[in-house]
Symmetry: C2
Subunit: 253 residues, 2 copies
C-alpha cells in the first residue's frame, strides 16, 4: 500500500517509522520545515516536499499528522485526489474532510509520542472511523499490521477518549511535577519518587484504578489531610489537595 | 541481627519477607489478628504472638509497621527493652518513641505495598533517621542490605516526602480513575488507556516531569480546553479540569 505522510512531528515520525518497518510503502513525505522533512525522509528512504502542491496524487493512503490548529488550512491547500485521507487526532471530527474529498477517515493511535523514544506499537490501541464501510475495513487491515488492538470509535467517542487521555497523561504528569517540587524543596532528589510512580502505573495493569486507590482521602482521615494542608504554603496547591481529596472520597462511595 | 516485627499488614509483609530473604533473623511477629500473624509467621518461619505483653525483649531491632492511628496505643502497651525501636511511617515524627525508650529511629521505604505483589526492594529509597548517630549507622547498614538507595531524612523532610507521595501515587491514581470513568461511559474498555499510562510513568525516568508536560493546558489552547469542559457533565470534574489546567500553565512559566 502506497502511503503519503503529511507532517513530520512526533506522531508522524514514530508512526511512519513503524509503517516503514512493517513493509508499508511510504512514497512521500510533506513538511513545511525542510529540515524535518529531509531528516525523516532520509530514514524512510522516500521523497519529500515542502509544498503541498507537489504532493503526489497516486497514493492509496494520505495520513495527515499535523497540529490540530493547522489541519483545516492544510486541507484547503492540498490538491484533491482519489486516495483515502485520514487524520490521527483525538479531538477532530472525521467530517473535517467532507468538503474536500469523498474518501476519508480517522486513524487514531492512543499514545503520547516522542520523536526520539521508540515505542511498542503492538499494544497501542488504534481507534478507527471511516466514511464508508469499505474504507473502514481498509484502515482496520492497515492498523492490524501495526497493533493487536484495533477498535471502532465514532468522532463523539474519540473526543471523550482524548479528554480521558488528558487526565491519564497530562494531569497525572502534573501530579508527578507537583510531587517533584515538594521533594526538591526539601533538598531531596526527585528520582527518589520514581519507584513509587512506576508502581502506581504498574498496579493498574492488574487492578482497576478505583480498586487501586489508597491514601488518607480514601479513608477520609481528616487528621492526616489537615497536616498535609498545613505543609503546603501555596494556596493553589491547597485547593488542588482539597478538591482531589474530596473527589477521591466521592468516587469511593 | 535479631528482628521483631510489630504488624502484619502490606508493608510489614513485604518488608519482613525481604529481610528474611536477605538473611535477617526475624525471631518474632506480633499482630492483633491471629490469622494474619499465623500466616505471615509461617512464611517467615518464626514465632508469633497476638499479645504485646509476650513480645520478646532480646531482639536488636523492633520494627513497628502498624497503622499510623494505632502506633501510639501500641507503644503504650509494649514492654520496654534495650533494642532499637523504629517505625516505617512517612508522616509520624521520630519523637513519638521518646517517652518510651532511649534507642529509636525511623526506617521509611518510599513505596506503596500490596501483600500479594512482589516488589524490587533494591531500587526503593529508604529514608533513615535515628536518635543517636550510632543507631543511625546501624539502620543505614540494615537498609543497605535491602536497597542501593539509603538516604538521611529528618522528621520534617519525611512529612513532605509523604505529602509528595500522596500527589505522585494517590492523586495520580485518581487521574487514572477519572480517565477510566470517561472511557467506560463511552462503552470503551479502560485497558485501552494502559499503554498511555505506562508511557506517562516511563517517560519521567528520562525527563523531569516539568519537561515531560504536554497538552492543551501547557500551550493554553483555550479552544481545546473549552471543548473538553463542554464534554464533562459533572461540575466537580469541570472544576478539577480548570484548576489543574491553570496549575499546569502556571508551572510552565
Amino acid at each position: 500500500m502506497k502511503v503519503v505522510f503529511i507532517g513530520a512531528g512526533n506522531l508522524a515520525t514514530r508512526l511512519s517509522y513503524e509503517m516503514h518497518r512493517k513493509g508499508f510503502e511510504i512514497v512521500q513525505l510533506f513538511s513545511q520545515s525542510k529540515e524535518s522533512a529531509e531528516a525523516l525522509a532520509n530514514c524512510l528512504q522516500c521523497d519529500y516536499t515542502t509544498s503541498l502542491q507537489e504532493v503526489r496524487n497516486d497514493a492509496e493512503l494520505y495520513i495527515f499528522a499535523v497540529k490540530d490548529s493547522v489541519l483545516e488550512e492544510v486541507l484547503q491547500a492540498m490538491p484533491h485526489n482519489k486516495g483515502l485521507w485520514v487524520h490521527t487526532a483525538g479531538s477532530i471530527p472525521m467530517d473535517i474532510f467532507a468538503p474536500y474529498v469523498s474518501r476519508f477517515g480517522v486513524f487514531y493511535p492512543l499514545q503520547t509520542f516522542s520523536k526520539n523514544r521508540e515505542c511498542d506499537f503492538s499494544s497501542i490501541p488504534f481507534f478507527i472511523e471511516a466514511h464508508t464501510a469499505q474504507d473502514c475495513s481498509l484502515l482496520k487491515k492497515a492498523a492490524s499490521e501495526l497493533s493487536t488492538k484495533v477498535i471502532d470509535a465514532s468522532s463523539e467517542q474519540r473526543k471523550h477518549l482524548h479528554l480521558a487521555a488528558v487526565f491519564a497523561n497530562n494531569f497525572a504528569n502534573h501530579m508527578f511535577a507537583i510531587a517533584s517540587r515538594l521533594v526538591e524543596e526539601q533538598g531531596l532528589p526527585f528520582d527518589a519518587l520514581q519507584p513509587l510512580i512506576a508502581e502506581t502505573a504498574e498496579k493498574i495493569r492488574i487492578l482497576h484504578p478505583l480498586q487501586a486507590q489508597t491514601g488518607p482521602a480514601m479513608r477520609y482521615d481528616e487528621n492526616v489531610m489537615n497536616n498535609h494542608l498545613s505543609l503546603l504554603n501555596d494556596e493553589n496547591l491547597r485547593e488542588i489537595y482539597r478538591l482531589l481529596s474530596k473527589s477521591i472520597y466521592d468516587h469511593s462511595k
